[in-house]
Symmetry: C2
Subunit: 166 residues, 2 copies
DNA sequence: TGCTACAGTGTTATTGTATAACATTGCCAT
DNA sequence: ATGGCAATGTTATACAATAACACTGTAGCA
């Protein structure tokens, strides 16, 4: 008995060319409106990250850049990542030491990120209820939040199905 | 105008000798009841981690072990950490690449961990409301959770006070 | 136009984190 | 005693991130 293929895990089935294009456009607008420069390297790194919804490691990005003739050194890529992080264009997935495009760039949100153990695809939510409850708990502790990091690992719908079948 | 010193961030003021002793006793009981061995190295690493509520890096632990004459190699420590993680005796703080003792060992919980940017002290909560809300969101995505990681960075009450004063 | 200041990038080297692969030891059940 | 297996030892290497300093190019301004 087959369930329908997951309609709800965005990475599963969508027009990724469009998705990526949107992200780049948004990035350009955001940088322009903030008076910061989306330079060639920064833009290229962002494009590479957006090639999929799987988090990319810094050295993976380095190799992809090398394959285009550039062959930059680690600091170059880390500086681009630092910029993209600072302007909310990508998220760092700490449990993977890797980076993924932010789906809510410019929206001032607190993200919860779901990561598939098997296919590595991710999806991002910004549920206020989670965020507020954590903020409330922090307040009770008299703790001053700078940043919330919520990462949920497990199986995406597609992979969970295959897993059940096996 | 001074607020009273944070009564609610546990790391601030408590009988740590007792706290640490309890943790070790619990670990022994848990291992015994599960028929697994809390060997000398594993126990030693756990003790070192419990010296404070600040997360310890693996190489930091290595140095502390070396100072006692042992001088083990990285895999030794990482294997001990792997064991302690697997049996719920410590948590890994991904945003720090470091490890901290679990305050709810044996209780089958999902932890939210608060980490102070300034003094590095941590405290752990297990709020079902946060956990359930995340589980609910996962269900809506048809995502099968294996593990939730919630890390909150910011200032603990004591450090926040000093910060305000400055 | 030319100067200055500073953001951005290049380069080299190093530090920090984690694991692969294989050898050895020691416990313990039969 | 011995065969099997968990635990540890050992060596080497992969992967992740940053320090420190040099160079370049662009924007603002005299």
């Amino acid at each position: 008995m087959m369930k329908p293929v997951a309609p709800s895990f965005p990475a599963s089935s969508h027009d990724h060319r469009h998705c990526m294009h949107e992200a780049l456009r948004t990035a350009e607008h955001l940088c322009a409106s903030q008076g910061v420069r989306l330079t060639a390297i920064r833009r290229r790194v962002l494009e590479l990250i957006w090639r999929s919804h799987r988090p990319s490691g810094a050295y993976e990005l380095l190799e992809q850049l090398a394959a285009e003739g550039h062959k930059p050194s680690p600091p170059t890529v880390y500086r681009a990542l630092e910029f993209l992080l600072a302007h909310g264009l990508v998220h760092k997935i700490n449990s993977r030491n890797a980076y993924v495009g932010c789906s809510h760039a410019g929206e001032s949100h607190v993200a919860q990120i779901f990561i598939c153990d098997r296919c590595s695809n991710t999806t991002e939510q910004a549920d206020d209820a989670v965020e507020r409850r954590i903020r409330r708990n922090a307040r009770d502790l008299h703790f001053h939040i700078r940043e919330q990091t919520v990462e949920i690992a497990g199986l995406c719908p597609r992979c969970a199905e295959q897993h059940d079948g096996a």
